[in-house]
Subunit: 221 residues, 2 copies
């Protein structure tokens, strides 16, 4: 139990991350069932999904230790995150892999941004999550192999990756607008400064671009 109630921004942050992990877990499991071409692939994406579930448990445990009901903390963010998943439902295995890798990467960047604003207990959690960061690397191998076998795949997947991040920014801005305490906390003292939020999103987008290049997805001119 915490001695004083946590700041609303902290509860929001843990809530949005918790729901992102819970729903990420479930959607990834669905993609593994639907699209994995072999049992080995299905198991690999299931591993990644299961890691998301473990992160969800860490976050909801932290919320409970702060005296906050996880369900209440997650509730304000379900619509934005569910909408993101609806807008970015993969149509095949390669799209599912790019989504897993890109989604995981955006989430890790977001944990890093968030880490600067959290107290030591939450820092431990962030470090634990970041330690799992390499788990989506199998997706890189699979996507690169597919592009090598058929270079045309690259353009289609690059467009797909751009859509993933575009929809994420759009839902992210919706969340920032609706949860001023969260936005204020994420960008520190400049919380009221919309341009500062814009700069944070720009950093996330830039990091996303680097990951997409690592996948072999270079956007057209």
């Amino acid at each position: 139990m915490s001695e004083s109630p946590p700041a609303p921004g902290v509860v929001d942050l843990l809530g949005v991350l918790a729901y992102a992990e819970l729903t990420g877990f479930l959607r990834m499991a669905e993609d593994a069932s639907r699209f994995a071409p072999t049992l080995t692939d299905r198991a690999a994406l299931s591993d990644l999904a299961s890691t998301e579930h473990a992160h969800f448990r860490l976050l909801s445990g932290l919320l409970e230790s702060l005296g906050v009901d996880p369900e209440q903390a997650m509730e304000p963010f379900t619509a934005a995150l569910d909408d993101w998943h609806v807008q970015t439902a993969p149509s095949d295995w390669l799209e599912a892999l790019v989504k897993a890798y890109a989604g995981n990467g955006i989430a890790l960047d977001f944990y890093r941004e968030a880490a600067r604003q959290l107290d030591p207990a939450a820092q431990d959690l962030v470090n634990e999550v970041l330690a799992d960061g390499g788990r989506s690397e199998f997706a890189v191998e699979r996507v690169r192999a597919a592009i090598e076998a058929d270079p045309k795949v690259s353009g289609r997947l690059a467009l797909w990756a751009r859509r993933l991040v575009g929809e994420a920014l759009s839902q992210g801005q919706r969340i920032a607008a609706g949860r001023p305490a969260l936005a204020a906390m994420l960008v520190g003292a400049h919380g009221e400064d919309l341009a500062e939020i814009g700069r944070m999103f720009a950093r996330l987008t830039e990091a996303h671009g680097k990951r997409m290049a690592a996948l072999g997805l270079t956007p057209g001119p």
Copy 2:
């Protein structure tokens, strides 16, 4: 690495259990997404799903340590288990809960039957799986509360539970017929004795009936 190749019955047993856990994990995650009425319920069924994934990892790790490719070991059983899930797709949250509880129970009974035939390394695994046995208890509370609120629910769910076990027996007999080494191992020295297999299924059915009574589901006359 094992010094001598494992018996075909052992590989079959680990393979069928591994695929049951992998696909159980994925189907349960799907049911959690589709039917859970609250985020807390969704998280609770996700916990159970995630435990299945952990068991899958234990089993596939054991197969690998025996020098066996998990995918190859699972392959002979995918059709029967996939068909079971198609025949027993829940249509609402209560059916999903009864399936999770009944399916988990049948699986644990099957681990117990199997345990008698395995070597010490596999015994440890079985004990680890059995230690997780209490995790589906949340389903009991939810189903009993629903029956208390509306006693008519009981008859419908009792029929549903009967269908779950009926389809399981049917797929189980299909597996036993197609994998004689597995059937022989499970019923020990009496492997060629179809009546002995029948008695094993009778024990599983009886245990299932007891669990359904615990849920408050008593079959009609």
